[in-house]
């Protein structure tokens, strides 16, 4: 995909990149570098960092209603923004809401100068992104947790379905660790290095910038008249997240992943002022069969020392 295409910034894994791409834009999933720390008291630092990043030459930005913080942050950017109403419940009606919202997003992209894609163009784009995600998932086993996480971010930020994951570095033999929670951005992405240096290896990346944020693969045999329904179904069905009501599927996903990857410890990640994930800490701690350590991301580099201490403490307990 040409980097010359104007880009559309987004942060949520439930904004289908292929839908944006099919309309002629480059889908740019933003993992902000900004780690200035929270501004207004009570404002989520990730939402503030994303708002700041929307001004970096993107044609427009897409926010979602997965949380109140992002919903209200959508009023701040000066440029064109789109607020995608995200279904919080899981039903045929909520899927219908999501489909309607994606159609509405399509109309927004057309008003920005995008194309009105033909069915075959949509299918071609779906296949391209689906194959790119499959290649990424296939690379999971041969890459270290850090390398794989970086590959995911690189793929999503470039919005290029031609992306191919690197061959290495290979996974270490550290203690298998899971990450669960909010996206890791800016200096917080040092967490992967900190885990490795403490003797661990991230084998299950349940952050929004990890595998939990990837949609289910498409059925390659499908040839229906409305490919948007397939895009919606794949993403809707993959909304394994704290914001869903109820959110038991998050725990089902975790249970499966913890057992399959023989995870021995969880690093739970939440942003300062993120109530949705913070609300899960007590439940996760009660539920988890393995030790859990809580790391709150305040958006400042000063938090790295705190993060390092917590990770080391977790590994000490496990070993």
């Amino acid at each position: 995909m040409s980097e010359d295409r104007p880009s559309i910034a987004y942060a949520s894994p439930y904004v289908p990149a292929e839908w944006i791409a099919a309309h002629g834009f480059r889908p740019a999933r933003v993992t902000p570098e900004d780690t200035r720390g929270p501004g207004a008291t009570g404002a989520c630092p990730f939402s503030e960092a994303f708002v700041a990043a929307t001004g970096n030459g993107h044609r427009a930005s897409v926010f979602t209603t997965t949380c109140d913080q992002m919903r209200r942050a959508s009023e701040e950017p000066a440029g064109d923004t789109f607020l995608l109403n995200m279904p919080h419940t899981e039903s045929a009606a909520s899927l219908g809401l999501y489909v309607d919202e994606l159609r509405r997003l399509g109309r927004f992209l057309e008003r920005l100068g995008g194309t009105s894609p033909a069915i075959e163009e949509i299918r071609r784009t779906m296949r391209a992104f689906d194959e790119a995600r499959r290649r990424l998932l296939d690379a999971r086993g041969r890459l270290s947790g850090r390398a794989w996480a970086d590959a995911v971010v690189e793929f999503l930020s470039a919005g290029d379905p031609g992306f191919t994951a690197p061959e290495g570095p290979r996974p270490g033999r550290g203690v298998p660790i899971a990450l669960v929670g909010v996206p890791l951005w800016g200096a917080h992405r040092e967490l992967y290095r900190l885990v490795e240096e403490a003797g661990g290896e991230v084998v299950l990346d349940g952050t929004k910038t990890g595998e939990r944020g990837l949609p289910a693969p498409y059925d390659r045999r499908s040839s229906g008249d409305d490919p948007l329904l397939e895009i919606a179904a794949a993403h809707h069905g993959s909304m394994v997240d704290a914001f869903r009501r109820p959110n038991h599927r998050l725990y089902q996903w975790l249970d499966h992943g913890l057992r399959r990857r023989e995870v021995r410890g969880i690093v739970f990640l939440r942003c300062a002022w993120c109530d949705l994930w913070h609300g899960e800490l007590g439940r996760l701690t009660d539920w988890s069969p393995v030790p859990v350590v809580d790391v709150d991301l305040s958006g400042d580099r000063g938090g790295l020392a705190r993060m390092e201490t917590r990770v080391q403490a977790l590994l000490d307990v496990i070993r």
Partner: protein, 459 residues
């Protein structure tokens, strides 16, 4: 008619004795305010109350809700615990015979009223829901404590365009094994070019597609109610329920109009706050709520006619945004020389009339979608500005709710717009469930606001 006064609980005991001796007629839940203090509502000992029998009835209605709920449960009344939507699902519930709704959210005042003695916040802390969350976290403790309300037969909760902390708290409750019927309310948006639009109560507009979606969600809730209750919730019944709800809303609008526009404040801000809260779920007794509001309105009109008020005529007119976790704050405003001349306590959609010229389920959906918290901060700010202008506000107080996800940005949006369009002094305060240690700071800030407003009068 004697000049109305603000009384302490002890002074109210004397007044009560006088009223009883003079033949005061009370409902079954009546009695002296001090009995609630004895029962544990110790915060009342630090508040000042209006001295009218109508105010006594209001407080007794509020403070006996727990008893009423348990009695209703014992009689076999279907009890619906409705969370978050602030005024919508109760209209459905009260449309059925022998069915009522209450807000577990209302537990957020228990830590204040009982001065933390009930241990609800500590219970929430133990579940990992600490003071970085909104004080409504007390609801968690209230569910677990099993004494503040009976186990509801059905618990509903609106999600989607709702605040994160409430959603997280409700999910925590669900995770503890309390079944919750979740229903979805999308963020209200403006219609697109060419999209069919619908006017909603309160002056906002939404796409008809969103109204249809919310209607389908409310019908889903209604279907659960029908199955639980064993009676159909027909359009006719809901229409009757809407008419009854609108009677209450009309009374409340009249009460607010009289109080906000009178030369002298005829009712204190505290009683007005409690009266507004009745609109959400009628304090589990719709008939009594109507009676209380009628009586309050009579008192207010009588005082206005007699040119009497509870505050000095030159009290600074303040528009108040957001409810307070500590009721004491409303007394403080008046002690500092202010008076409430307009309010937005997060549920304007529970005070506006529900349309009666539309099919009832659609009408209720329009009302739900008109919720100011479901729309943008900009739209909420616009309504605050419009009402503050209309009511002649001289200052605005934005009361942040500690930990509430919407307050981080919304308060700034409202304050900026007030400054830009009205040029009024604005202050943002934060009121925790017990504000005693912060009272000097709160007073200073409110006094400064009042002084700034007075100075503007001289210009």
């Amino acid at each position: 008619m004697s000049t109305p006064k603000l009384l302490s609980v002890a002074q109210w005991d004397e007044r009560y004795a006088e009223l009883v001796a003079a033949g005061l007629r009370q409902p079954a839940y009546g009695g002296p305010l001090s009995r609630h203090v004895t029962d544990g509502d110790t915060r009342l000992g630090k508040l000042r109350f209006d001295d009218s029998p109508a105010a006594l009835r209001l407080w007794n209605l509020l403070l006996t809700e727990e008893e009423r709920l348990f009695a209703a449960k014992a009689r076999g009344t279907t009890i619906v615990g409705t969370m978050k939507d602030l005024g919508t699902v109760p209209v459905l519930a009260y449309s059925l015979e022998n069915c009522l709704a209450f807000y577990p959210d209302g537990a957020w005042w228990i830590p204040c009223v009982m001065e933390l003695s009930a241990g609800l916040l500590a219970a929430a802390d133990r579940l990992g829901i600490d003071d970085s969350f909104c004080p409504v976290r007390a609801m968690l403790g209230a569910f677990l404590a099993e004494g503040h309300f009976p186990d509801p037969d059905l618990v509903t909760c609106s999600v989607g365009a709702t605040c994160d902390d409430f959603s997280a708290i409700a999910q925590r409750l669900n995770g503890l094994g309390v079944p919750v019927l979740w229903w979805e309310i999308p963020a209200r948006r403006s219609p697109e070019p060419g999209e069919e639009a619908v006017a909603l109560p309160g002056g906002v507009v939404a796409p008809h597609a969103q109204v249809r979606f919310v209607e389908s969600e409310l019908r889903r809730v209604a279907a659960h109610l029908e199955e639980l209750h064993g009676e159909p919730l027909t359009g006719e019944r809901l229409a009757a329920g809407i008419r009854a709800a609108n009677e209450i809303r009309e009374l409340l609008r009249e009460l607010r109009e009289e109080c906000f526009t009178a030369a002298k404040a005829p009712l204190p801000a505290l009683e007005l706050l409690v009266a507004e809260m009745l609109a959400i779920h009628y304090c589990s007794d719709r008939d009594e709520t109507r009676a209380v509001l009628v009586e309050l309105l009579e008192v207010v009109r009588g005082r206005i006619a007699a040119n009497e008020g509870v505050l000095a005529e030159d009290a600074v007119r303040v528009f108040w945004v957001n409810p307070v976790a500590d009721l004491r704050a409303m007394n403080v405003l008046e002690e500092c020389g202010g008076r409430v001349c307009g309010t937005d306590y997060l549920f304007a959609h529970a005070i506006d009339a529900i349309p009666e010229d539309a099919p009832p389920f659609e009408a209720l959906a329009r009302t739900a979608l008109a919720d100011p918290m479901v729309g943008s901060s900009a739209e909420r700010a616009a309504r605050v500005v419009a009402e503050a202008r209309e009511l002649g506000a001289e200052a605005v107080i934005v009361s942040r709710i500690p930990g509430a996800s919407h307050c981080a940005r919304e308060g700034a949006a409202i304050g900026e717009r007030v400054l830009e369009e009205l040029g009024l002094p604005v202050v943002t305060i934060e009121v925790p469930p017990l504000a005693d240690s912060l009272l000097p700071t709160l007073r200073t800030r409110i006094e400064a606001l009042v002084e700034a407003a007075r100075a503007r009068r001289c210009r």
